[in-house]
């Protein structure tokens, strides 16, 4: 788990650079309250205290990464409480949750949609400690994310390269594809995750959006595809959330099907749904399939299925 925290750090540093110290404040609050709620819950219910196992730290970081920098300081605390107490501990604690706690918390926080959609341009100066960010002091609401612009069918003006290294409006942790890829490479080198889910997720979305762009007569389907890949939370979701051990299948083939499912659902929601971003919903929906995927993609037993062998004998 420490490795995942390390892998998330480049994205955090980048967002501090782009959005200022408020990114760090929100992240610390989310992490602190996630660990705190876990400790509190386990203390009150007289369970073994496992709050120090870094798992809650990862959850907290991901919750903060999924909110805009303008979020009020109480938002990460509420998010962590929901993720840790309701999604994780009430289902039995680490390894027992049926969906990714950080993602479930994000979707829960979307009920404050005006807050969750209040994105700012990079390099806007925001107080790192004031509880709320008033929309009167900063022009927040007017900035749509690139993905929202993409939804209307027009390619926005920002360059693809800027999207790649992350100089765009967006959630704290999702803006820089480059920084997230650094984390991905680190996780692969440390063998924390395998590339199956991430790659099949991204490639499926790439294929689908390219095809859609081509079929709808887009002037440049390839560019349309790249905009889809580089905008929104795709890389954050595909690298750090879909690969969560507890909520992904065991076998390589299961992982690939899981990734394809995530990619397809993301594309469908983004293109045909009412909401600009679909990564969170796609992963949460696929989370609920893992028991079936585990069953369907069971590896073949060494020497073949015993029952069949008996019949032959």
């Amino acid at each position: 788990m420490t490795d995942v925290v390390i892998a998330l750090c480049p994205a955090l540093f980048w967002s501090i650079y782009v959005f200022g110290w408020r990114s760090l404040t929100l992240t610390i609050l989310a992490v602190g309250s996630a660990v705190g709620f876990e400790y509190l819950f386990q203390y009150i219910t007289k369970r073994t205290i496992t709050a120090g196992d870094m798992s809650a730290v990862v959850t907290g970081m991901l919750i903060a990464f999924n909110m805009p920098v303008t979020a009020p300081l109480w938002l990460p605390v509420i998010g962590s409480a929901f993720a840790i107490i309701i999604v994780k501990q009430l289902f039995g604690g680490i390894g027992k949750n049926i969906v990714n706690p950080a993602l479930a918390a994000r979707v829960f926080l979307l009920s404050w949609s005006n807050i969750m959609m209040a994105f700012v341009q990079p390099m806007t100066s925001i107080s790192p400690i004031s509880v709320t960010v008033s929309s009167e002091t900063i022009d927040v609401i007017s900035t749509a994310t690139p993905l929202a612009t993409l939804k209307t069918g027009m390619l926005d003006q920002s360059l693809l390269l800027e999207k790649f290294y992350g100089f765009i409006p967006g959630c704290i942790g999702e803006i820089s594809v480059l920084m997230l890829l650094l984390g991905f490479i680190y996780l692969l080198i440390r063998k924390v995750i395998t590339p199956h889910i991430t790659m099949s997720f991204i490639l499926t979305l790439a294929g689908f959006t390219f095809l859609y762009g081509y079929l709808t007569g887009n002037a440049s389907p390839f560019e349309y595809m790249l905009h889809h890949l580089l905008s929104g939370g795709l890389f954050l979701g595909a690298i750090f959330m879909a690969t969560d051990y507890t909520t992904s299948p065991f076998s390589p083939s299961g992982k690939i099907i899981f990734g394809i499912g995530c990619g397809l659902l993301t594309a469908l929601i983004r293109i045909f749904g009412g909401y600009p971003e679909g990564v969170s919903f796609a992963i949460l929906i696929m989370n609920s399939f893992i028991w079936y995927l585990d069953k369907w993609t069971r590896p073949r037993v060494f020497g073949g299925n015993p029952e069949k062998a008996e019949k032959k004998g």
């Binding site: 604690g93 051990y245 590896p299 073949r300 060494f302 020497g303 062998a309």
Partner: protein, 436 residues
């Protein structure tokens, strides 16, 4: 590319004693020889209390059933016979012999003087049986019966020198110190089983031994050395056959069904010695090691010597010793009594410190799935077994588990997976027995 198999784990090898030559232990005052050291029917004692016995004298046999004779490992007097509880929960008769320190060898023992080429297969098998040879890798199936079952079915002999368990170095030492015993023993086995091809299987962490063996082989078209990648459990016969030929043994199939028969390296050496000197299986080679053993050694010990005598010879235990394990740390058995004795299947005695206790929890990381050599889903098996859903365990092919322990070794959440699986298998076997 070295030959290997899918799954398994690379582990810390702990081969601390790889450079320790095999020493012969000082003879103990008493030995207690159990009448069952093999798969099959227990032996009936052939001596009475007060009898004088000599080294190599047959003291137990059971000619009527699948069994294997047992010989005295020291000279002395039979002091008593008693039933003792063994680690598998059954009672076995022990013959306790007091040493007279004369070291007198039974006069019935004589070298085999007829040329091997002129000796019939039946004659060799008879001799192997009389020498009390069993599979010495731990399964202890009588070797003569294995040869009989292989005749006409198997076409290749594999001599298993993989020694994939951590700590164990005794086969390594045997290969370095007595390569000719292994090779000549292999030739005797080939003659007995009427097989024209033998392969000596060695992992690549013992390349010095592989070279030594290869240098001593005169005809490489008959006997050859194959080097395997070092990975646990390469020594498992299924994985040896798979790595060699790509054939997967089906559940319930024996190696002979697919043309192979596998013998242990030490069994070869014992057979060779039985032919050259007439001495049956009365001593065992073991590795004595572990963090809590003061001076680890490789030893040749008489069968029936107590663990206490062996540990004393190795300088005793350090104060933090938590348990004594016979065999390798992966599949070995924890002992509760230092009066337990070394038998034909004892390959090692390990003294290990306590593990730090942590609350086990599975985070579904899937490492056990990748490590499983039988390609099962250990994490799910453990979960279903822990809530007593044995039907689901059966559906997930729990009976194919060979209990190699890779899943439990690799588990970052410290879940005792293989223990859960063993419990479930035991329960399922008990249900099967009830049905019948």
């Amino acid at each position: 590319m070295r030959r290997t198999f899918l799954g398994g784990v690379h582990m810390n090898e702990h081969k601390n004693t790889a450079k320790s030559p095999i020493e012969t232990i000082t003879p103990p005052e008493y030995v207690a020889i159990p009448m069952q050291q093999h798969i099959g029917a227990p032996c009936k004692p052939l001596v009475n209390i007060g009898d004088t016995v000599l080294i190599g004298q047959k003291i137990g046999d059971n000619p009527t059933a699948l069994s294997c004779p047992i010989h005295s490992s020291i000279s002395g007097t039979v002091e008593r016979m008693e039933k003792r509880l063994t680690t598998n929960g059954s009672f076995v008769e022990y013959i306790v012999i007091k040493n007279d320190y004369k070291g007198a060898v039974s006069s019935e023992l004589a070298p085999h003087t007829i040329l091997l080429g002129d000796t019939s297969s039946e004659k060799i098998i008879q001799k192997v049986r009389e020498a009390g040879v069993v599979g010495m890798g731990g399964a202890s199936f009588p070797t003569y019966a294995k040869i009989q079952s292989a005749i006409g079915k198997a076409s290749v002999i594999i001599i298993n020198c993989a020694e994939c368990e951590p700590y164990l170095t005794i086969n390594h030492r045997l290969m370095l110190e007595h390569p000719e015993e292994i090779i000549n023993g292999t030739k005797i086995l080939m003659r007995a089983a009427k097989i024209k091809k033998a392969i000596i299987a060695i992992e690549d962490n013992k390349l010095d031994a592989a070279e030594k063996i290869a240098d001593n082989i005169t005809d490489h078209s008959l006997i050859d050395v194959e080097v395997f990648k070092t990975k646990y459990p390469q020594g498992d016969e299924r994985q040896l056959i798979y790595a060699l030929s790509g054939i997967e043994l089906k559940q319930g199939q024996l190696p002979a069904d697919v043309g192979f028969v596998i013998f242990n390296a030490e069994s070869c050496a014992v057979i060779y010695n039985a032919f050259t000197t007439g001495m049956p299986l009365v001593s065992k080679l073991i590795t004595v090691d572990g963090e809590c053993m003061k001076s680890p050694k490789n030893l040749s010990v008489p069968i029936g010597i107590s663990f206490k005598d062996i540990i004393d010879f190795c300088g005793g235990l350090t104060h933090n010793c938590d348990r004594i394990i016979t065999g390798g740390p992966m599949m070995g058995v924890a002992q509760w009594d230092l009066n337990s004795v070394a038998i034909k299947a004892t390959g090692a005695i390990l003294a290990l410190p306590a593990l730090t206790e942590t609350e086990p929890h599975c985070i579904r990381c899937g490492r056990c799935v990748r490590a499983c050599q039988m390609h099962l889903l250990p994490a799910l098996l453990a979960q279903y077994a822990s809530i007593n859903d044995f039907d689901m365990c059966k559906e997930l092919n729990i009976m194919s588990c060979v209990e190699c322990g890779c899943c439990t070794y690799i588990c970052p959440g410290k879940v005792p997976i293989v223990q859960h699986i063993r419990n479930a298998k035991q329960e399922l076997r008990a249900r099967q027995a009830l049905k019948k």
